[in-house]
């Protein structure tokens, strides 16, 4: 029934066995590979120490500055607390396409078959659901096949039961298809408790029904066919109820908002608030990541520092001796330098302020030039049906290429000043321009993509990369969200810090306001002369 991404649907069965072997593999690999940090395996927190050697030693290591060498030593934690679940850094990766599977196959030497376990889980879940679906049909068909001669003929009630049986099976099929046949988007690190619970329920139900069937029906071969059909119908009912339970637990329970969650990106402070229902930590993380791609602008490391036009160095002051007095030069110099340093400390704020002003003005100027050039370029294009007189018909792509040079240069300058140029290639711009021309967009509609940095999902170059996120939490991932909890979702260049707050309980009281009670008095202070 559920064939959604039940990645670790059955890993609860398998994980006990492989956990130990996974640890052994992990430690061996880590010791041999030094400081290679692979986030797709279950790692504990690493501690690393940096030792700076005095300049004359020549042990290996990285770059040196002024002859000093830096060695990084990793203290690998001993494996004495592998059963302890307090700190878990686990990997979630999205978009299991073929490349993902091959990559996961590569990763298997680090984490023994984590990917294959999850795929195995999906396969097992699918097989189990099919088996459960086919069971009632088997219950009904087997007597017909095996001992048709001794069966009572099917009367009205029996036919009625057949009809209801067929329709219930159809409804079950449609329900399962509607809800659970989805392209798996998400791989979760730990067992999804609800799913495995549902699958366990299905398994138990089917098994017990089969046992009963095997003992009572197959052995004794009763001739009352109606009873058998009724039995099969009861199994279908039970499966429908399990489906209902699955819908409630997996789809509906988390829809009512219980918490407000604040997500802050640690590099540039972008923050958003979300309503979240009752979730476990890992499911909440998945849900938040889906919202992240819609709401957050892409992280642009180049925007962290405001670019200055001409960096001025105030450190080098030249001292000219006006008086021609060689003796007092050093004393007066040091005093002047201290005074200059003090003044410089205050002028840092001023500099920063003026730099920011200057930058904003530059951005505005270039933006205006860009917008004007684009608007003018768009006036050169008209639809064939609207144009009178001689015309050379072009298809949209050619039209785009024809008008692009008119605003190419201001566009390039604008993108450069806002540091957006890595996100927009020439191809993508032309494609977008052709698209806008086809749909009769105004220049403003074409420009909205470049003037405001939209959500992260808009930048195609980032999407085709595989999105690898690490969930960092000091509580086990099955725990439901609690107010005051916080965890982090780490990506390569930034991380998202998540804090959970509870929505206050609202006590709503009723108060009736009589419309007749809306009376008013005039407050005047008038002066009259008599």
């Amino acid at each position: 029934m559920e064939t959604e991404s039940v990645r670790s649907g059955n890993s609860s069965y398998v994980s006990h066995r492989s956990h130990r072997s996974r640890d052994k593999h992990r430690d061996r690999k880590r010791r041999s590979r030094g400081d290679h940090n692979h986030s797709s395996s279950l790692l504990k927190a690493d501690r690393s120490v940096t030792i700076q050697t005095p300049p004359h030693s020549t042990t290996g290591g990285g770059d040196g500055e002024d002859g000093e060498e830096v060695i990084e030593v990793q203290i690998l934690p001993q494996d004495d607390n592998w059963g302890d679940n307090t700190t878990a850094i686990t990997g979630t990766s999205e978009q299991t396409s073929m490349e993902d599977i091959s990559r996961m196959a590569k990763d298997m030497e680090d984490s023994i078959g984590l990917g294959s376990i999850q795929h195995l889980g999906v396969v097992i879940a699918t097989m189990l659901s099919f088996f459960a679906f086919l069971t009632p049909i088997a219950f009904v068909v087997l007597p017909l096949v095996l001992w048709k001669e001794t069966l009572d003929p099917c009367n009205t009630v029996c036919h009625g039961l057949f009809i209801s049986f067929a329709f219930k099976l159809l409804i079950l099929l449609i329900g399962a298809w509607a809800l659970f046949f989805r392209r798996p988007r998400v791989v979760m690190p730990r067992v999804f408790v609800f799913r495995s619970m549902i699958m366990a329920l299905v398994f138990v139900y089917t098994l017990s029904y089969w046992l009963f069937y095997g003992v009572r029906v197959l052995d004794e071969r009763p001739s009352n066919y109606q009873d058998i059909v009724q039995y099969a119908v009861s199994l279908v009912d039970a499966l429908l109820f399990i489906h209902y339970l699955a819908v409630i637990l997996i789809e509906l329970r988390h829809l009512r908002p219980q918490f407000i969650v604040k997500v802050v990106r640690n590099t540039d402070g972008e923050n958003r608030f979300y309503h979240v229902g009752q979730f476990s930590i890992q499911r909440a993380a998945v849900w938040l990541l889906e919202q992240y791609y819609r709401d957050f602008p892409p992280y642009n490391p180049a925007l962290m520092h405001i670019p200055t036009r001409a960096p001025k160095q105030l450190t080098g002051f030249k001292f000219y001796d006006v008086d021609g007095n060689p003796g007092n030069a050093s004393a007066s110099q040091t005093r002047a330098m201290i005074a200059a340093a003090g003044r410089r400390h205050e002028s840092i704020h001023k500099e920063r302020y003026y730099e920011e002003q200057e930058y904003e003005r530059r951005v505005k100027k270039r933006r205006v030039r860009f917008v004007c050039a684009t608007e003018e370029a768009f006036t050169h294009i008209k639809r064939l049906s609207e144009e009178r007189g001689p015309a050379v018909p072009m298809d949209p792509h050619e039209a785009a290429q024809a008008i692009f040079p008119a605003f190419a240069r201001p566009m390039q300058k604008y993108l450069r000043v806002t540091k957006q140029q890595p996100y927009h290639t020439m191809d993508s711009i032309l494609k977008h321009l052709a698209f806008c021309i086809v749909h009769d967009c105004t220049p403003k509609a074409f420009l909205e993509r470049y003037l405001t940095p939209g959500p992260s999902i808009q930048n195609e170059s980032e999407i085709h990369k595989k999105q690898k996120w690490t969930l960092v939490s000091d509580l086990p991932l099955h725990n439901s969200l609690e107010p005051g909890m916080s965890f982090a979702l780490r990506e390569q260049s930034f991380s998202l810090l998540v804090t959970v707050m509870r929505i206050p309980t609202i006590k709503l009281k009723e108060d009736y306001q009589d419309p007749k009670s809306n009376k008013f008095v005039l407050r005047l202070q008038s002066e009259t002369s008599v």
Partner: protein, 120 residues
């Protein structure tokens, strides 16, 4: 306060003004403000007092000659009580055409130091 005079009541001043009607105006020569339908908080002399107050006295008018000062509270006008009167009612009582002389009972805070006989 003279001995034997009744205790209680407000000491007030009696002022007689002879009307000099000129054109449309009643001819008393002062302006009043206040009233129970007005906002007493704007009263500069006695906030939260909804009585009728003299806000302005025209120089060389009949009221100025009779000794009326701005800030005086009018308690009675020709027997009509003005302590609980609306603004329009007060104007009505003060500007009755049939009466040529208006006798006002006035209260002012420094009433005991004014010339004239304070009466009850």
């Amino acid at each position: 306060m003279a001995a034997g005079s009744p205790i209680g009541g407000i000491p007030c001043l009696l002022i007689e003004i002879v009307k000099e009607p000129v054109g449309g105006s009643a001819g008393l020569g002062f302006s009043i403000g206040g009233g129970i339908d007005q906002d007493p908080s704007k009263n500069p002399w006695a906030p939260d007092d909804t009585g009728i107050f003299v806000t302005n006295v025209m120089p060389d008018g009949p009221a100025a000659r009779a000794g009326l000062n701005p800030g005086d509270k009018i308690l009675q006008a020709n027997g009509y009580d003005l302590t609980m009167a609306t603004h329009k009612d007060a104007i009505k009582y003060l500007t009755k055409k049939k009466e040529q002389v208006i006798r006002l009972k006035i209260f002012r805070p420094d009433i005991l130091r004014t010339r004239g006989n304070p009466s009850m």
